[in-house]
Amino acid sequence: MDKKGKSNVFCYNFLGKNCKGQILIENVVFIILNVMFLAILVMFLMKQGQGTVLLESSYAKESALLIDGAKPGMIFILNMEKGRNIAEKNGIEFSDVIEVGSNYVNVKLTDKGGYKYTFFNDVNVSAYPDKEENEYNGMYVFTISKK
């Protein structure tokens, strides 16, 4: 009795009213819509994680903190491969992505203003993209020197 009841529930909810192994067009559409729903949800989550604004702010803060903790004579390399892909998609030259001012870093991955973050270390900073065989490899080089 219980088993029959359970199988009835399964048949009713997933296979259709008769439960004779017939695949109904309605059920196929139902399953396709469910799969589409899940796919859209996953795509949304993946896209959110790679947001331009989020990347701009994280690169700007990361480089500002590295500069704050640096001493004259130091060189550090920042991996910005994701940023390079987004900048190229948005038509921004990779060499223009990072701008370092007297006490700020500005990261620009779109043609809008970019994201600016200040640092307190009074040093000279020069930033340039690294190249391998005349092509950008997604790394940015920061050199620190005394003012």
């Binding site: 009213k17 007297s102 270390n121």
Partner: protein, 217 residues
Amino acid sequence: MKILNRNFDFENSLFKFGLRSKAHPNSDTEFSNKINQNQNSKFSKNKKGSNKLISIYWFAILVIIAGGVVMMVNVFYSSPYDVREAEAEILSAKVADCLVKGGEINKLLTSPTGAFRESFKDNFMKFCSLNFDVEGEFERPEYYVEVGFYTEGDLEREKFKLIEGNLNWKKDCNFKDKNQEKLVKCVENDFYAVDSTQGVYLIKILSIVGKSDQNVK
């Protein structure tokens, strides 16, 4: 019979709102058997309709779940990374490195007799290569740093004090409220050092970073 009809209406409404599926009425009680008989006679023509009804509820649940996920993701990604504590720690470490070298207080700060040089106060930012400048005319510095030198005998009153940055941040540090974190991030460090005459000092460094616009939602 009247009561049975009422119960039937209740079952019917449960079924309509998707709270009871067609397979469930298979219970052992006499009451439900009677209902089943009634349902078989009433619903046999509307099975397709009830199927669609269940699908609508299923999609309503999916929409609610999707809404929840979108809302949670937005809340998570719209709040920026808060790096102020790391920044304040770096500032504190940088000031400590500047004032003390190898456990001994910087020669630029004290004279050979052990007295503190007042001129160091004026050039503190330059000596320690700090830059708290801001771009806008009406903008205030986002940093504050305070260093106190205490002798072993008197840990209440500092013998020498260095202050730089936006003094307004200091009172926000002591603000006792759950929203205090949204105002500033304060880091306090202390350590011992000796001067050129081997006098021992307790050095307390308070470093504060504002920047709440960029680090707090």
